[in-house]
Symmetry: C2
Subunit: 349 residues, 2 copies
């Protein structure tokens, strides 16, 4: 059982994903500012996990608030929410989680609850988001496992596992559920430059679960897909537009195009909290650009000649026409996604 | 002027490409065994450069031969050729260069030349291969430059530059020739994991020549191609089959597919010495698998969890249907390649 993030009396405990797989460390984050920095610096990453961290960060910030009046407390709440919202722009689960915390806060305030009562409700909501994410992954796993043949070879990009969620995982959750259902599955994991989530995190998770994994560099995925060895590709998502376009870790688009070209099913696994019905198309999803040093340096050592320019978009958008199905916690959506995704939201309500 | 490889009285001098860009070192290789190891360990890489190194390695080996009879000398020659041929399997220029050396040797032997005369002819042939490669790159540059629009943004994968050849470069030679012709060209260079030829070598070469270059991770190429910023892709080649299928650095295939999907011309630049008319299809090209450590470790530090399996194919094959044109030193070939490549060989003879 991988403990990605936990609420404790000491603060928010997170496994430091920057140090894996060499070091398995569980630092405690005691303020909402520390949680915000942890999200920015990728101590924790993965859209669902970021949502949980933001919610816990808000709950923590309000535990620490010294406000004595409800108005002051509301001002602090606003500031804490703004701080957490400003950490990363692409994963919509972050904003979704902040909205859930705002809803609870506003509801409690309308009911004129006492500060301590609101604090408790915020913690409860953060814990509910954590718990529900694991449940959503489990459901997604059951829906998705049916798409995985026995004796399957699956290719995945980045880490959409327990470490990217409250637990179990989205793409890796589907693989875990297939294995739990008795299917034999082996995995190709793209290393996922520049942060190496695949080489470091996906490989670590799958090895822990004794699921056979072979790490490849990102550029090998096309060659492997063309070889005929791979039965399907499964990835997670950071934001899904209403038309089914998917923002996910940089490189996902190339994998999707290569899978499409070789007639290999390309699946996206993500909870409905990742779907942003307010955007009609993936072109509207904001794409984060991260620091040059992630590309120019490796563990402090320069790779590129000094002064050379680099680009570092952290995500790309895969147009829906390359996506065979989107596996959610409410069922599996297929083309046309604007209808099918909407239907999943309506059935759930 | 980049000095990739030179024949000197001391031995073969090569810039150590494993140490670039941090260190610009020019070690001397004094035996054919040292040259063979340098090829295997990628002190020197790039199909045309490997061909030159193999030829110089053979010339060096025969300088060092202690044979006293022509028969002994022939046995040594055979062993030296076998050793150099066994260094790397994919780049056909290696075998092409060995064949040239064999031809010179056999011709001299038939004429009953003295050992020292043969030694001199072998050195002359290695120097001719070196000189002709630069000339071929210059011609390729002139043919290719016409395909580059002014104000162009060009994406390249791996290093097909001066460092991959005797000088000037194949893909980068085309870019250099376009710049020399007064065109403004900026370059996106894929970093090219695992050996980072793009981040380390292409960036270094282009920065030296003041050609604007932006390094990206390999997985970003699709996103950049989809963005509409790129006018064309140019890469080198390690072996080209008679039907126009191209073996090149792992990852080339994914770039070609993404370029095709976005209607961006995809050009291959390679001398005719890279074309292997004996193979009807790229499926027949042997693909080298290199050591796991290139993927699992970075400068001695592990990236992946201990014991995790990796794959490390060093090349992939891009089917000819993705290739807009093959720029050679004898002219530009287009579909159908079996006819057009053949015609270039015939025109040259």
């Amino acid at each position: 059982m991988i403990r990605t993030i936990e609420w404790t009396d000491e603060g928010v405990v997170m496994i430091d994903q920057r140090r894996l797989p060499a070091h398995e460390l569980y630092p405690v984050f005691k303020t909402h500012e520390e949680v915000a920095k942890a999200i920015e610096e990728m101590v924790i990453r993965g859209a669902p996990a970021i949502g949980v961290a933001a919610a816990m960060g808000i709950a923590l910030g309000m535990q620490n608030s010294r406000a004595t009046s409800l108005d002051e407390f509301a001002r602090d709440f606003h500031n804490v929410c703004e701080r957490l919202s400003a950490t990363r722009p692409t994963a919509v689960n972050l904003f979704w989680a902040v909205e859930r915390m705002r809803w609870v806060f506003n509801h409690a305030r309308r009911e004129a609850s006492a500060i301590d009562a609101i604090r408790k409700q915020l913690v409860d909501e953060a814990l509910a988001i954590h718990r529900e994410d694991i449940e959503a992954n489990r459901r997604m796993g059951r829906f998705g496992a049916e798409l995985i043949p026995d004796n399957a070879t699956v290719l995945t990009h980045c880490n959409a596992g327990a470490l990217a969620t409250a637990g179990f995982g989205t793409a890796l959750g589907v693989i875990r559920a297939a294995v739990e259902a008795g299917k034999r599955v082996r995995v190709y994991a793209d290393e996922t430059r520049p942060f190496l989530q695949g080489a470091r995190l996906t490989a670590w998770e799958l090895a822990k679960d004794n699921i056979p994994v072979t790490v490849i560099t990102d550029s090998m995925a096309g060659h492997i897909l063309k070889s005929g060895e791979v039965d399907c590709v499964i990835v997670g998502a950071d934001r899904i537009a209403a038309n089914g376009d998917v923002a996910n870790k940089i490189g996902t688009y190339m994998v999707a195009v290569a899978a499409h070209e070789n007639n290999i099913p390309f699946y996206v696994a993500a909870p409905l909290s990742t779907v942003d019905l307010s955007l009609n198309s993936g072109d509207l999803i904001p794409i984060e650009s991260r620091a040059d040093e992630e590309v120019t340096h490796f563990r402090g050592e320069p790779i590129t000649p000094e002064g050379v320019k680099v680009a570092n978009p952290a995500f790309d958008v895969t147009p829906h026409r390359y996506i065979s199905a989107i596996i959610t916690d409410a069922g599996v959506a297929r083309e046309p996604y604007d209808t099918s995704l909407n239907a999943l939201f309506e059935n759930r309500n």
